[in-house]
Amino acid sequence: MSDTISSGGRLSTLAAAFVVARRDFVASLWSRSFFFFLLGPLFPVLVGGLAGSVGNKVEQASAQPVIGIIMQARDADAMMDAAASLSPHLAGALPELVVVQRLSPGETADPNAALKSGMGAAQAKDRNLAAIVSGSPRAPVLTGTAGAIDQWQGPVSLLSAKALGAGPSSFPPVALSATASSTAHEQHGRLLTAQSAQLMLFLLTMMLAGMVLSNLVEEKGNKIIEVLAAAIPMDAVFFGKLFAMLAVSLVGIAVWGSVGAAIMWAGGRTLHELAEPAVGWPLFFALGVIYFAMAYLLLGSLFLSIGSLATTVREVQMMSMPVTMAQLLLMFFATYAMTQPGSKIELAASVFPLSSPYAMMARAAVNADIWPHLAALGWQGLCVVLFVRGGARLFRARVMKSGPSGAAKPKRKQPG
């Protein structure tokens, strides 16, 4: 063994936090949980994709009603011709028509029965038959629910007029002048951008806070916490753990960002297709990373405090659930506040530490002012320090409370 004697003093909080963070960062990066962490965002994308696909099918089946025709063959054909003639000019305003039954002269049919049974011509089967037009173009009868009748009586009248040859015979060309956006469109787009950013922030934060909590519980399981507490300030342990996981998450974000950018590039898509946030894309991204860090540090320090109170993984899960739910409510609160610009609600959401990052992220999307972000970041940073200090104090008081088995004892035992 070398004979050098270490100099006195102790590591500064920063240096000690770096030692802990370096260990945690390397260990996390090489762990299986990081692999799953990288895969994490794929699951919402997959679930979203599947849900969207199923939703599309459902929408196709339910949201595109067709109007059935039960008329004499000649009248039915006239109605179909009228629809074919008007559709290019009134796309979307006209219902899709389908001939349910061509009647022979003198033959009658019950539209109610056809509507209820869905029976009729082959092309009407498995379709969303919303109403039946019977009678003749001169005296059409629309049978359906009150809503369907209200919705379709105008178009049916127009179709009947066209079938009788009384509709417009010519359609003057309309010169088209498309604009990139309107005020309403831009505002709507920005709100969507804000909402998406909030959601992403929330999901990332929850995932990471859960990881840092597991990490701490693992630490208690490894029984190394007392060695750390004896050598360095507990604040440093907390800061080290928080920043290690933050660094891990930034690696993850870099990977996801690169993959996302590559996919967008391969698909020929650009950010210009999305509504540009009020502060501009570069600053919006920068603020996104910073607010993500703040949201995570705030929630992570809270979770670490919970970790100090819990003795088992099960207890941690039970205790963290209400916090997770509360965080979800805070996210909703921030989302709601976004729709109330300039109100006290927005101010409250921006000031309350745990909702502040979400509220301010949304604000960046819809409002170009920079100074509120500087103020919010200062405030959030202060809260992080206070949370970590409080958590560390609680941790020291709780974890080192008892003797040999520490806080992991199932039953209370006298300190040794």
């Binding site: 063994m1 004896a230 040999p404």
Partner: protein, 310 residues
Amino acid sequence: MTGKLAIEARGLVKRFDGFTAVDGVDLSVPQGAIYGILGPNGAGKTTTLRMLLGIIDPDAGVRRVLGAENPQDVARLIGYLPEERGLYPAMKAYEAIAFLGALRGVPLAEGRRRGKELLEEHGLGYAIDRQIRQLSKGMAQQVQLLGTLVHNPRLVVFDEPFSGLDALNQGRLERMIRGLAAKGTTVIFSTHVIAHAERLCDEVAIIAGGKVPFAGSVDVARDRIPAQVRLETRSVEGPWRAALPADARREGQYWNFSLPETGIEPLLRALIAGEAGILSLSIERAGLHDAFVAIAGEAAAKALTEEEQR
């Protein structure tokens, strides 16, 4: 407080939820000494050590460790092995030592180099690149012990260092502790095994129920109770019997009693004059166990014995 003490504590008190775990503990640990804190589980040993290390703060009292009122201010000069050993299972042995060194200010590269050296020196060279999870419990304990020493601390604190070690490794640890003290390192350890304290310690503190009824050298502790005299005589009765102390009791052909305060010589003269016919006479100095019983009481001694047997 004097500069020659590595640790000095006065009136340390610690309460948890209304329970007083440590109740007015005074300690003076000389620099370079091997100092034992002896007591059964629940006596307050670990809590006392944690207060001395600054892991927890006392509710009352003062402590000075290596000249600092806040022990964490001299954390780089202290090595600590807690009773509950723990290392990161995925770390390699030498990296674990380097990490423990880094916590005490040793640069990582230097810590890795020293870690490998220490493992080689202590016959664990084959385990250098093994992960902690691949080592036996005893080996992992040794790795952590080496990690406690990697920064060459001036004060080493061991909490129940012998628990979990087999006889061979207990012997190695005893030699290591003596080696540290020989180099001037102060070693303080807690134990509930009296034999370790008796063999190793220059001074001990006996702790029971959160209080320290005795702190001082092992010799002084033993001197708390008089030496025991064992006498064998040819004669069973005679005038010499009057010379025996009042506490003398017969066990077989022997008489057992405490050495009189006046010493052995007046008694010997009286026995010879009374024609007792002395066949054998031995004076046995009290052991630390007897001293512990006398100082801490029967209940604490019984608890200690039960733990030793476990």
